[in-house]
């Protein structure tokens, strides 16, 4: 087989079905690629060669046996280090969980294993998913394969970078305020944050429970849909899981027809702060959609400019509560337990040693926003703004089928550029946060390179709750047109990595 690492997941499955290649060969090709380039990219925190090859061999045997297999059986994957995986380290990019090996699998991991998807390893992330650049990982940053001096987005920069570096054809991310979509945008890959409750959160280390959602990542729309359909569905172990049929995302990804659809451009997600080349590619995509027969209109979501501020009160509040479990008692790090100190002293020393500066900032901010005297002015007010944003969406979706915007205001910035200024880092999430606040699904897909820096630009598509299929329908229509315009996938325009 020619270049296995550059093939789409769906094509790999076809090749396996035709007997042209085995899952072991595919998995080994990706492990070899990781060995060759991950020293430069650092997408993985832990590589599980044996586990991946064993799973691949098992799928090969089942296929030879003529068993009925899942649509992605035998295609390997990178798993964000926020999902508990039995027998595999799960650190969340934190020293707090260094060396911790979960005794159970997250529901999503169980579904991946049941689908015969070999897990190559755990991907790097901002510590406890707090960040937009993967620079807040306690194990060092991940580098963007398009330019190793730049960030791969965050928090799921390991998952996006492993796709862009051809270390894996599939990856799992989690998205609380953009952690799947913004990394996809800056690496020229596809990522979807499903409807809140569409994918189980059982076994996913919680950042902000009312916002977190696990989702699929790949290099094209169809592969993303295939992975979406593997991981989605009701889970009795997650009480916020939605007990309804999974939308037909695969059918929508194969359809890709926007003729007659109404598409809304969000007026508030453009203009000041958005890079010129990002806006250029976005405007071209609007023209492209019109050419395909969609009716594109501008819609106003007047409360979106307050979403970022509301989010950075709600998220720290929830995370300050969720991260209380890291107290050095039941798992992970314990510091200073020399027999002379009280449990509270040991907790305080453990948390100071185990948490990095961004995590400490957000826990303290949340503690402040929830404290007596400030609760109504900060957390309470932010929750009311959350209602206004959900109402903005409801009004918009009364007029249009989907909304679109640039995914991120800029292309990938340089590593180190925003580390000293938390507020400027937070601004990266300005366009991705609204759907998390409202619990809606969102996709990012590549729409070209910004002319000024030749770095990938992402388009965000947003849909009503449980209408995730609309993302894939619109995304597939755009992707088909762009592939024919470019004469191939966007990554063909990326520079070769030195290790290759």
């Amino acid at each position: 087989m020619s270049d296995l690492i550059r093939m789409n997941a769906s094509d790999l499955v076809e090749a396996m079905n035709a007997g042209q290649v085995s899952s072991v060969e595919i998995t080994q090709a990706h492990l070899d690629r990781i060995a060759a380039v991950d020293g430069d990219v650092h997408a993985f925190l832990h590589v599980d060669s044996k586990g991946a090859l064993d799973a691949a061999a098992a799928v090969d045997a089942q296929r030879a046996d003529g068993q009925n297999l899942s649509a992605l059986a035998g295609v390997p994957l990178g798993l964000k280090d926020i999902l508990a995986s039995k027998g595999l380290p799960t650190t969340c990019g934190s020293k707090m969980l260094e060396g911790w090996i979960p005794p159970y699998d997250a529901t999503v991991v169980t579904k991946l294993r049941d689908a015969g998807i070999p897990i190559l390893g755990k991907t790097n992330m901002d510590e406890f998913a707090m960040g937009s650049s993967t620079e807040h990982s306690a194990y060092g940053p991940t580098h963007n394969p398009w330019d190793l001096e730049r960030i791969p987005g965050g928090s799921g920069g390991g998952s996006s970078a492993c796709l862009a570096a051809f270390e894996a054809p599939l990856a799992i991310g989690s998205d609380t305020g953009g952690s799947i979509r913004q990394p996809a945008a800056v690496t020229g890959t596809v990522g979807v944050k499903p409807t809140y409750g569409g994918v189980s959160r059982y076994g996913v280390v919680a950042l902000a429970s009312s916002l977190d959602q696990v989702g699929p990542c790949a290099r094209n729309v169809l592969d993303t849909a295939l992975l979406h359909s593997v991981i989605a569905g009701h889970d009795p172990r997650d009480s916020t899981s939605i007990n309804k049929p999974v939308p037909d995302v695969v059918g929508a990804a194969r359809r890709g027809d926007v003729k007659g659809m109404k598409i809304g451009v969000v007026r508030e997600l453009s203009g000041e702060g958005f890079q010129a080349g990002v806006q250029t590619r976005f405007d071209e995509t609007v023209t492209l959609l019109e050419g395909l027969g969609a009716e594109v209109v501008e819609v106003s979501c007047p409360n979106f400019p307050h979403a970022l501020a509301a989010y950075y009160l709600i998220l720290p509040s929830e995370c300050s509560s969720n991260l209380a479990k890291f107290d050095g008692i039941r798992f992970g790090l314990r510091v200073g337990d020399d027999g002379s100190k009280s449990v509270e002293q040991v907790m305080s020393e453990t948390r100071a040693a185990g948490f990095g500066p961004e995590v400490i900032r957000r826990i303290m901010l949340g503690t402040y926003a929830l404290s007596a005297g400030y609760y109504d002015a900060y957390y309470g007010q932010a929750q009311k703004i959350r209602t206004l944003i959900a109402q903005d969406f409801a009004k918009a979706f009364a007029q249009v089928d989907v909304l679109i915007s640039p995914t991120a205001p800029t292309t990938a910035f340089k590593i180190g550029e925003k580390m000293a200024d938390p507020v400027s880092m937070y601004l990266n999430d300005v366009a991705t946060i609204p759907v998390n606040l409202a619990g809606l699904p969102g996709m990012s897909l590549p729409i070209g390179l910004a002319p000024e820096d030749n770095l990938p630009v992402g388009l965000q598509i947003m849909a009503p709750a449980m209408a995730d299929d609309r993302l894939y329908n619109v995304g597939a229509a755009i992707e088909r047109e762009l592939l024919s315009k470019w004469g191939g996938p966007i990554w063909a325009q990326a520079p070769e990595l030195a290790g290759a």
Binding site: I101, P103, Y104, Y196, G197, S210, P236, R237, S239, T240, N303, H306, A309, A310, Y312, L313, S320, D327, G328, I329, R330, F331, G332, R334, D337, G339, K341, S342, V343, E344, V346, S348, E349, R351, A352, I360, R361, I363, M364, T367, Y368, A377, Y378, G380, Q381, A382, Q383, K384, I385, R386, T387, L388, A390, D421, P422, V423, Y426, L437, G439, L440
Partner: protein, 98 residues
Amino acid sequence: MTAISREEVAHLAHLARINIADDQLEHFAKQLDAILDAVAQVSQVDTANVPAMSHPVPMTNVFREDIPVASLAPGAALAGAPAVEDSRFRVPRILDEE
């Protein structure tokens, strides 16, 4: 407008059970101040008669079938613990000695 003080940072750190060194308090005070400044715009939004939203999908009393399933064996549950004694989590001193 907020101007959070060193003492407030120390108080927050205590509430959150995070030991912050004295020479770090000023640093965190400045950063928290900048963040609070940026999020303070929430106060300018008119939210009279707007209900608070704590969760995107309103659900109450979510139950699952009461079916016994295998749970973690004690050894597996304790395998990641920092300290174990007699099949239990061993914890630092909880009560004062006096």
